[in-house]
Amino acid sequence: MSHDTPDDVRTSVRAWLEANWDPQSDLITWRNKLADSGWGMPHWPPEWFGRGLPVSFNAVIESEFDRINAVGVARIGIRTLAAATLLEHGSEAQKAQFLRAILTGEDTWCQLFSEPGSGSDLAGATTRADFDGERWIVNGQKVWTTSAHHADWGLLLARTDWDAPKHEGLSFFVVDMTQSAVDVQALKQMNGHSSFNQVFFTDATVESGNLLGAVGDGWKVAMTTLAHERRGADALRRWGQLSDHRGLIYDEERAEISTVMEPYKWYAQRTGRVDLVLPRARETGRIDDPVVRQEIAKLLMLNSAAQWTAERAKAAQATGGPQGPEGSLGKLASSLIARAAADVHTRIGGTDAMLCGNDGAADGLIAEILLSVPATSIAGGTDEIQRNIIAERVLGMPKEPRMDGGPFRDVPRNPTRS
C-alpha cells in the first residue's frame, strides 16, 4: 500500500491497530508485536523496527494510537538517546542486541558523560578505558547521571588515548551497569531532592564488541547523543503524562513512566513558575504594592517576549532558515525568566522567604522554586556557554584563544580524586 500522504498512513495504521491492539495483553508482549510491525517507531528504517516514513507523519500516527488509547513503545528516558545513537553509529550486531529491549522498555539506560572535573568542557573527560587485549577496563568517576541507580546499560564517554589531542582521544562505549565494579551513589542537590547519581568505575569491564564507532570517535558519537537530548525535551513533556485508563497494560505503562519521571518531579520549579506569580500576589495582597507591580510586569513582559521570539525562530525555520543557535537564545532567556521569577516570588513572599517545608509559603512550593532556579542557568550548558555560542555562531565573533591543544596528557586540568 502506498504511503504518500498522511491519509494513506492513517488508513494503514488504523487497520493494523484494529487487527492487533489488545488492551488485555501485557506490556512486553504488546510492544514486541508493535516493534515488529514498524508502527512503534515509523520514522525508523524498515530493517530496524520502523517503516522509513517521514517524521512529519508521526502526529497522524500518534493520533490513531490516542483515538483507541493504544499503548506505544517505550519512548521516554535516556533509552531514547541510546536508540538514536545506536541507529546512527551502532554496528548491525549492536542494533540487534539492544534496540528491541529499548522499545519494549525491558532495558533502561543512562548517560555517562559529565565528570567532576569536566562539566562545560565535556571533552576534558578523564575516565579512562584501557584495552587489555580482550576487553576494555574502565576506571574513573561520572556525575549528574540520571537513572543510573536502575539502569541496565550506560552510554560511556571515556579516554582511550592520552597522547592524542583532547577531542580525538575519546571513545564511546556501552557499559553493563549491573556489574559489581560499577558503584552508583545518589547525589543530593541543594533543593533536597536526589535526582542524579555519581557513578564510580573501579576496573569495570566492557566487552570489545560494545565499542560504539571507532576508537577515537567518541566525541563525534557523543555529539549525536547530545543533539538528540536537546531535541528530546519537548517529547519528555508530552509523554511524561500519566493516563487514567484501567487495565494491566496501563498499570505497567504508568509504573514505567513514574520511574522515568521521578527525578524530574521538581523540574517545573526550575522555571521559576511564572504562572504562580499573579495568583500569589493577589492571595498575599502584594498586588497593591507599586514596586512589586513593576517587577511583575517586567517578568510577564519578558516571558511573553521570549515566547514570541521562540515562535519567530520556529517560523523562520519553517521557511527554510537554519536551525541551531537560536536555541541558545531561548535557553538564556529561560535563565533570565527563572531568576526574575524567583526574585518576584521573594518580593511577594516577603519574610516568608526565610521558611520552607510546611512552614513555607504555599506549603513549601515557593521555597522549592527559590532553591531549584539555580539549576536552570547551569544544566544543559551554562549561561556563559550559551553566550559564547550566541556570540560565535550568531554574531560571528572570534573564539577565545585556547589553552588545551596538543597531547591531552599535557593539558592543565583539575586534580582527580583517588
Binding site: R293, A297, A305, R312, R387, M397
Partner: protein, 380 residues
C-alpha cells in the same frame, strides 16, 4: 498570528532601505538635524512622491496606499535604523492615527489626502507642561460660548510643531474630567494668537515644539466630547509605532558594535575575542530580539483587531525602550573612548534612545498600564 514577513513585505523593506541608504546616511542626518526645520524638505518630498511613505496606512479612498500596521511597522523600523529626520512620526503616524480613530468623516476627507501625498505636514498636540500623553490628563479647555471654538493655553512636546501645516489639538469641554469631554480640534498653523517655539532637544533628530494658544480659533473635528477612548486607542497605535521605530535603532547599534569588536585590537587580539565583550553582545542580541518580537506582535495585533492591543502596546513600548537604552549604553561602552566623541555616530542613536524612552509614556508608566490590562483580562 503569523510570525514571519511575506515576500512583498521583504521587498517593501528593501526598497525603503535603499532609499534611506542614499538619503539618510549619518552625514546626511548630521546636516538635516541642524537645519532650520530639522529635516530636508527635498528628501521628504522625494520619499512621498517616489515611495508614497506618507500614505502607507491611509486607506485608498483617502489617497493612501491602504497598507496595514505591519507594513507601517516595517517603514518605521527602517526609519529608526537610519535615524531619518522627517515629519514621518508626527504626520504619517500620530496625525493619521488620531484622525482615523477620532476624526469625523468630513475632516478625514479634507485632511487625509494632503497628508497622504505629503503636501501637508500634520501633527498632534496632546501633552502639556507635565509631558503626559495620557489624554485623560489634558487640561486645555475649548471655549465654545462664542461663535466657533476658541483655544487658550499651551501644548508641549509637539513633534514637528514648528514645521507642521496642520495642527490637531486635544482639548476638553469646560467642567469635564478624565476621558470624558475630550474632543479633537483643528488649528491652522498660521492662526492669529498661535505661537510656536522649537524646544532645545536632547535628540536633535526629532524636533518638538511648545505651542502657545492665545484665543486661537479652531474647528472641532471629532464628535463632541466623546473622543477620549478613540484618542487612547490612537496613542496605543503610536506607542506600537514607536516601538517598531526603536527596534530599527537597536539593530543598527548592535550590528555596528559587533563589527567594531571584530576589528579593534587590544592586548594583541581583537576585543571581540574576549568573553567580557562577547557576553555583552550576546545579551544585547537577546534584548534586541525580544524587543523585535514584542514590536512585531503588537503591530500585527492592530491589523488583526486583537482585543489585547492596549496590553501589547504597553508591553512593546516598555520592552523596546529598555532594550534600546541598554543597547545604546553598551554600544558606547564597547566602543570605549571613541564612542564618547561627537564625531563618532553612536551618540546620535543614544540620544534617540533616550528621547524615545520617555516619549509617549515612560517604561514604568507602560508597565503599570500593561499590568492593569492583564488583570482585567484575567478577570474577564
Amino acid at each position: 498570528m503569523e510570525f514571519g514577513f511575506s515576500n512583498e513585505q521583504h521587498q517593501f523593506r528593501a526598497a525603503l532601505k535603499r532609499f534611506l541608504d542614499d538619503h539618510s546616511s549619518p552625514a546626511q542626518v548630521r546636516r538635516a538635524m541642524v537645519s532650520d526645520q530639522g529635516f530636508d524638505r527635498t528628501v521628504w518630498r522625494t520619499a512621498c512622491e517616489d515611495l508614497g511613505v506618507a500614505g502607507i496606512r491611509i486607506p485608498e479612498h483617502y489617497g493612501g496606499a491602504g497598507f496595514g500596521y505591519v507594513e507601517l511597522g516595517i517603514a518605521l523600523e527602517e526609519m529608526g535604523r537610519a535615524l531619518c529626520c522627517a515629519p514621518f512620526f508626527s504626520s504619517t503616524v500620530m496625525a493619521v492615527e488620531v484622525l482615523l480613530a477620532a476624526g469625523v468623516e468630513q475632516y478625514r476627507e479634507l485632511l487625509l489626502p494632503s497628508i497622504a501625498s505629503g503636501r501637508a505636514i500634520a501633527t498632534v498636540a496632546i501633552a502639556e507642561a507635565g509631558g503626559d500623553w495620557d489624554p485623560a490628563t489634558v487640561t486645555m479647555t475649548a471655549d465654545t460660548s462664542a461663535a466657533g471654538v476658541i483655544l487658550s493655553g499651551s501644548k508641549h512636546f509637539v513633534p514637528d510643531g514648528s514645521a507642521a501645516d496642520v495642527i490637531l489639538v486635544v482639548a476638553r469641554e469646560p467642567g469635564s474630567a478624565g476621558l470624558e469631554g475630550l474632543a479633537l480640534y483643528l488649528a491652522d498653523a498660521d492662526s492669529d494668537g498661535l505661537t510656536r517655539e522649537d524646544l532645545t532637544m536632547l535628540d536633535p533628530t526629532r524636533r518638538m515644539a511648545r505651542l502657545g494658544f492665545d484665543h486661537v480659533r479652531a474647528e472641532r473635528i471629532s464628535e463632541p466630547g466623546g473622543a477620549g477612548l478613540a484618542l487612547s486607542r490612537a496613542l496605543d497605535h503610536a506607542a506600537i509605532a514607536l516601538a517598531n521605530e526603536m527596534v530599527g535603532g537597536c539593530q543598527v547599534l548592535l550590528d555596528a558594535v559587533v563589527e567594531y569588536a571584530k576589528l579593534r585590537m587590544q592586548f594583541g587580539r581583537v576585543i571581540g575575542s574576549f568573553q567580557a565583550i562577547k557576553h555583552k553582545c550576546a545579551d544585547m542580541l537577546l534584548d534586541v530580539e525580544h524587543a523585535k518580537s514584542a514590536a512585531y506582535r503588537a503591530a500585527a495585533s492592530i491589523d488583526a483587531n486583537d482585543p489585547q492591543v492596549t496590553q501589547f502596546a504597553s508591553l512593546a513600548k516598555a520592552t523596546a525602550s529598555d532594550a534600546y537604552m541598554r543597547t545604546a549604553a553598551e554600544a558606547i561602552q564597547i566602543h570605549g573612548g571613541i564612542g564618547f566623541t561627537w564625531d563618532h555616530d553612536t551618540h546620535l542613536w543614544f540620544k534617540r534612545a533616550k528621547s524615545s524612552q520617555v516619549f509617549l509614556g515612560s517604561p514604568d508608566w507602560h508597565r503599570e498600564r500593561y499590568l492593569q490590562a492583564v488583570e482585567i483580562e484575567a478577570v474577564a
